[in-house]
Amino acid sequence: MFLEIKDLSVKIENKNILNGLNLNINKGEVHAIMGPNGCGKSTLANVLAGKEDYEILNGKINFKDNDLFDLNIEERAQEGMFLAFQYPVEIPGVNITPFLHSAINSKRKRMNEEEIDNLSFAKLLKSKASDLDINIDMLKRSVNTGFSGGEKKRYEILQMSILNPDLAILDETDSGLDIDALKIVTEGVNRLKTKNNSFLIITHYQKLLDYIKPDHVHVMVNGSIVKSGGSEIAAEIEKDGFQKFQ
């Protein structure tokens, strides 16, 4: 099993958010989690990425034969986990290009691979940015600073395509995107899909799943998965909403 979440319960500030959540993802699979506001979708994404604000009450997570809780935030990233943030953080003064260069090399170092030099990295970045219709001038700017909502999301996908993760978690990547940007972003994701990597897509709407076809769709309510199935569940939610699952 690539990612195995067993009976996960999590709380923050005395409020239980995840309650005995179970989820298994195999290599090469695309999973979508849909759920109403506040059901714990983003908490799951943050817990997987290692955010330290949460208290783990119970459960276990295995990722690529590692106990995930034994790995800190950066070790998880270096092991191939990537979170595309719902609200990417603006970091004025940190230039995109050296930041991404340093990020890719930290991963390569852990994998005992040779570090990528400046020139090769510049070529890689330029080509990936072009795929996502990102202007080269944007790469001279600070991380997420002064970006529109759509630009931020596109930049998250650019980072993902550079870091080429084994498991990518997309936390409401479709929010704030117009239809053209949604197409560009989803094409970027589809381009990355191989039989060796997996995706966990968190969304409210079926629209995103029209472009990225999931193998499994899960409905999450009150911190647990209450129903799992195929794409038909997304259509059902689009038609009737989440109420019947609550």
Partner: protein, 408 residues
Amino acid sequence: MNIQDNYQKNKKNIFFSGNKDIQSHREKLINIFETDRFDRKNNESLKNINLKKFIEFKYKYLVPEETSVINNNQDNSYSIVSVNGQCSSFKDDKIEITKILDEDYNDFSKNNTIEKNDHFVNLNSLFLNSGFKIVIKKNNNIKIKISNIVTDDNLTIFQKNNYICEEGSSLSLIEEYENKNNSTSNILNVINLENNSKLNHFLIQDNSSNHNLIITSHSSCKKDSTYTQKVYNFSEGYVRNFHYSELIEINSEADLQGIFFLKDNNTSNNKTFVKHLAEDCKSNQVYKGILNDRAKATYFSNTYVNQVAQKTEGYQLSKGILLSDNASYFSKPELKIYADDVKCSHGSTIGPIDENAVFYLRSRGMSKIAATKILISSFINEELSSINDDLMSETIQKKLVRYLSKVK
């Protein structure tokens, strides 16, 4: 030893002790020390300091054997080594350097902007033992680098300097303070900018923990002149940077910037006071601090806009990053506006490093320590990237790397 005894004992070594007017001024200053109740709550010059250490000091001064001024005609630059606050006299067609004179002292003592209850300034006047005057002649564009050296342990340097930029002149002044001995430098700089002149003043402070540096400066800007001060404080010892600025004629400008990097038990006190006294003047004050361990800092920022100073633009900003729960940074911005057509603002943000930003960077594979360091660098990136002198930029970067190497 009390101030009176200390003064009487060392009087013969103090500048202008034969001048009756100056002596009478000094008697008044002694009286202030003897009657003042040292109101720590309201006197900004007393915050966070061990006053006893500075008042009950043992006076010791050595007249330097050698100082130097080197002139490089090719690029209009001058290198000055100021030793124990003194500098050799020098004159060419662009600048003139002399010792300060009685009349300069009188100009200092008549200055009404520098606060009368500032005990460090009063100590400076009382025990004055060094200082120089530099005049940049009309329409010249030059660069001066001053290395301020203190030669021995336990020296007490009380120094007054006077900089005059004549009409149409432009000066880039880089001052370095990198002293390793157990001594105190108490310096008062008075800077006069004539019409259409410009002074870019950089102060790089990197003293060891046993060296105390107290700098008080006052700039006065006439029509179309600009004073820019940029302070980079990496010192491990106590540093005080107080600057008073007066915009006395139309279209003059003061741009004050300070960055301090503190750790261990170190303290830094900072103050800026800008007086807008004419129309169409601009001021900008930006002070940023990074504080680790049990370090403490204060920043008092004042902008006063006189009723005649219409079309004033006056901005104040202070920001601080606290890297430890035990570090503290007290910032107090104040605006006093008596004109009605002005654009003024002030802001202050102090807190720990942004944990969301740390998480974001770590989620891309960067270690916690690397993320913290990159965020500290980014916090001051704007100020550092505005340094347009390559050598100085490299110097500051090296000192920043040294500071960051101690951040755990």
